[in-house]
Amino acid sequence: MAKTETQLAQKTTVSIPRILPIYAFVAGGAITALAAGADLIGIAGLFGKNGDWQSKLMLSGLVIAAIGAALDLTFGQRGLLAWLKPIVLDWPGLFKFLTIAAQLGLLLVIMRTCYLEHNAFYEKVMPLVFYGFIIHHLLPRPYRLTFFIVLSLAAFLSVLGFADSAWLIGLSLLLIGICHLPIAFAARVAILLIAAGALTAARFGYMPVPWTKALWPILASMLMFRLIIYLYDLKHNQVPPDKAGFAHTLSYFFLLPNVAFPLFPVVDYSTFCQTYYDDDDYRIYQTGIKWMFWGVVHLLIYRYINYYWIISPEKVHDTGTLVQYLVTNYALIIRISGQFHLIIGILHLFGFNLLRIMDLYFLSTGFTDYWRRVNVYWKEFIQKLFFYPAYCRMRKAGNMTKLVVATTWGFLITWFFHAYQWFWIRGAFLLSLPDILFWLGIGLLVLTNSIYETKYGRKRVLVKGKATLKEIASKTLRAAGVFVVMSLLWSLWISPSLAEWIDLISNTEVSLPELGMTLLLIIAGIGSAMLVNEKWSARSTAAPKSRLAFFRFALPTAAAILLLYFLAQPAYAFRLGAKASDFIAELKMDRLNDRDAVLLERGYYEQLYNVHSFNSQLWELYAKKPDDWKPLTETDAVRKTDDLMKYEIVPSYVGSLLDVPFKANRWGMRDDDYEQTPPPNTYRIALLGASVIMGSGVVHEETFEHLLEQRLNREHAKGKYDKYEILNFSVGGYHIIQQLMLLENKVLAFQPNAIFCFAHTRDENRTSGYLGEIADLEIPYGELREIMQRAGLTKKMKHKKTLQLLEPFKYEIMSWAYSRMVRICRERNILPIWICLPSATGRNDSIYATELVRVATEAGFGVLNMTDVYDSEAGAYLQVAPWDTHPNAKGHRLIANRLYAELQIMDKTIPFAFSVAK
């Protein structure tokens, strides 16, 4: 007995020299990992300009680890052996782990190949998840939570950089610290509210902050709900002491995927702690892989709907387009679902066995059912912190009164928190009637459904049997009803105003037979999904997952991931035929849909329009846009005019635009200075266009106008002409009517030899929008007035209405403007060239150019269709910023080179300036 105690004492009292080797091994491993992952977490700069110290440090780390391992195995505790032995000897476990790691690796490749979500996610966070998962699993359980925190902090550092990460960590620790102050609970809440008040003032911009705008959405999504839940759980001791602690707290707030997703599930603290490794490790990991796979699938389906099916409200005119608008916009919720599945899946890989967050909500058979399924975590949050407390507080009231008051309170809070979330993420409080009506509508529907269920009950079963066809049919009809109502409510939610939504619905010519057919299609679609789900869930019930062997459980997901991987590889996709291959290639591209692309572009011409809801990808881009990133019209580089021009560039202006210097010459052109009369034997070209041509976002020397002028002078001067001059008359936001007026009133005085009139695909739509704005002004062109009268345009008409009225006349307007331009040029012996560029940088939207090319050709322009100008650099980053589609310097070089080549070709048919070149 005494001997055993002595042995125990020897075992527990480890001498420092004997344990040092294992510490050396861990330190060496950490140094190696840090040096190897320096690029990933953005600290490579610390190791010298060319990473000189990186390889040396990696080597040093490996040497230290090897020495540590050797000493540990010979003179030390043999801790390394004790650690690795169970891992290596547990063959089934090792094989399961490798299966999971392989699936994760394939998912990583798929995400990178498909550019899923954004580059911070697939280039930084996901590789960290992959490598982190491997190390995490190999670590003994007690060290895993700490490692998860370190990995999360590395992800924050990687995405946000040093300064912002330091602020984020500091502020979070401060606020978490306040929750633990040894003072009364109410006092802690009061201090937190004061801190929140200071942050609110800073978010509104009343107080300067030392961090960048990019930090706000992440900081907000980490703290805005989690602090409330954390405080509540602290107050009520919701987590048993053995499942809580400092590491749990830190890992709860610093959740690894959070840095890539500002819209983050509202994870409950007690659930987070209590589900940590509450099942077999491999089963938890495999469940995570499954959710991640479904996340990827959801995001790809989202792209399919977003790229091919979404239409703008202006296109809605009959039953078909109305239903398409309603259903596709509602279906975009699948993106949030995809993101949330990815997030929860990633957390599973680190042991957090959280519930599935969005569960077949399109198959909800009632509004309470919908509320339970659409965001399980949100429902739990509202239920736990607001619904239950409100209900329990009214002990003496009748059940119905309690239900009505508590439900109303729950939805009021939901509406407020949605606006609150919007404020922290976007920086402006969302107070719109459609938003209020949307939440009011859902609240009323859920309340009505709850009252019904309270009175008449809801069918519950202990053991789920096989559903009969009658039951499936009944569920299908109810689910179709919920789907239709939710689609309608959703369309209200995403409408800029109630009037525009009423306008959308009331101005659509609805045909009852068509409506009936569409409803039948919806019922058929939901019915098929319901049938599959019932069959599947009956099978799942028959063989519960917990009883399935791991590999049987993993096989369907692994097979599906493998299939997706092959489909994402061009070499395999090609075998499916050209059409399928093109379709897959299109789905793999991350881009805005046509509607959002137009809206993004319009952001420079008009006020921010229709990006207030989470339905659009645009809000994410605008959330990153710096506050001082203003379009030309919002700077002092322009001054107002009283005519159709609306504004013009201030002559001799010196300032900046979109973060680059902006200088105007004495004539109000963003260009070098030129005499009004051309020098002798000079070939002068005048450019007419909008912001891309003006060179928004690039310095003057990088604009294609400057590059082309330089090249013409370098390669052709002293030939037929002594000099070439390109005068840039373009002004950001100018439409064809303004360009026409500019030509007549300003350009001609500069005696150009050629006019290059630049157009973008869909210019006809933008021109219609412009005409709607100027309908109140005196229009000096009789023919244009006559077209507008024929269209039925009146003063003070709504934007959408003018677009609808002008839709049949848009090409006639363009044709009139182009013909007038050409006539003016011909009368003065000026060569009129029309050049078409894509709407958005980096894209080829030639399909939208066909009609415009026809109109320009018929008007008599020499036509250069350059809608494929960016094709040679497909995939390259060609725009000035993620939120700004103007071409960057590389984009301008592409335009300059292509234009030069096109002019050389054109010179053979339409004599330009090269004919007698050297």
Binding site: H236, S270, C392, L403
Partner: protein, 83 residues
């Protein structure tokens, strides 16, 4: 005492939420909330029943999986409240 509480609770659950179901299929460890038998409305209905039947007061934060997920947990909660 606990067994009697369990029997009362079981009887109530079967009568209110699972009419027509086989009583033997509802055991003391059948997951009620996590198994989808009790949703938020039926949980509150059960809470009201427990308060009235056993003369206890159940707080809002106790209406959760930890306390009400099984008949055993429910009986333990009632027992703790009455002690």
């Amino acid at each position: 005492m606990t067994e009697a509480t369990k029997a009362t609770v079981k009887d109530y659950i079967l009568r209110e939420f699972l009419p027509g179901e086989n009583p033997a299929a509802l055991t003391d460890s059948t997951p009620l909330i996590s198994g989808g038998i009790l949703d938020s409305l039926s949980t509150l209905k059960l809470v009201t029943f427990l308060e009235e039947k056993f003369g206890v007061q159940i707080e809002a934060h106790e209406a959760d999986v930890e306390h009400l997920d099984t008949i055993t947990n429910i009986a333990a909660l009632v027992h703790a409240k009455k002690a």
